[in-house]
Amino acid sequence: MATHLPAFRCDQSLRELRTGLESVQDAVAAALAARGYDEGAMFAIRLAIEESLVNAFRHGNRGDPNKSVFFRADIDEIRAVFEVQDQGPGFDPRAIPDPTEDENLEIPSGRGVMLIKAYMTEVEFVKPGNVLRMRYAKPSAP
């Protein structure tokens, strides 16, 4: 009979981007590997976490060292759910110019959210826009 690991859950307050990212990425990678996520899934999730935390620190908290970013994860054997919350005022995700439009193609920024949406199964910004929820479902999951 197959044994099932309990869900991995974490709820962390991060004060600094790079050290926060390292600790989160290592813990999530270990949890995913233990629950049978393949290399493609690990790549997608790593990228989405990187982009979302960079956005939260840089754009959400606007680099304010007195503000934190809250990272939550809930990973079981069929899906991985993440929430990234900053302490900024939020934003309207519809206001991000589409970087693939001809007139925006040469703008050097603004592609992080697009990558997150491409790699994750579901992505939602919670009003006022300072909480990002994202879910990755294993391709074989119903």
């Binding site: 790079r18 493609g40 790549f43 790593r46 990228l47 990187e50 982009e51 960079v54 840089r58 970087p99 693939t100 193609l105 040469e106 050097p108 920024s109 592609r111 992080g112 697009m114 990558l115 491409a118």
Partner: protein
């Protein structure tokens, strides 16, 4: 002769400047900024540079890096030069496809193919 650098190695091969990344991950904003500075230095004294950026070592790249390559491409063009990218791993290449930056950059499978495209 290889130029010493923390994030890239630069070689001049015939008329082509070959740039390889020494890092597997191009993620950290400070590193990306340093890479940008190093790239710009590569062509500062060149006229009509032919530059090939080799991604063979790169496993992960964040979206912040795209802007650096775009600025470098502009600098090369401003010197009447040409830039090619090559040897991307499938997942790194996928990022360029998703963001449609394949329309902005000339991307080739191999270094030789990139050099050949200058002719």
């Amino acid at each position: 002769m290889a130029a010493p650098s923390s994030h890239i190695s630069v070689r001049k091969i015939d008329a082509v400047t070959r740039i390889d990344f020494t890092d597997r991950n191009i993620l950290d904003e400070l590193n990306i900024h340093q890479i940008g500075e190093e790239l710009l230095k590569c062509v500062e004294s060149e006229f009509r540079p032919k530059v090939v950026v080799v991604f063979g070592n790169v496993e992960h790249m964040s979206s912040a890096a795209y802007g650096t390559f775009m600025k470098f491409n502009e600098r090369v063009k401003s010197r009447d030069g040409q830039m090619r990218l090559c040897e991307m791993r499938p997942r790194v290449h996928e990022g360029f496809v998703i963001t449609k930056l394949t329309r902005l950059f000339s991307i080739h499978d191999t270094y030789d193919a990139a050099v050949e495209s200058f002719k």
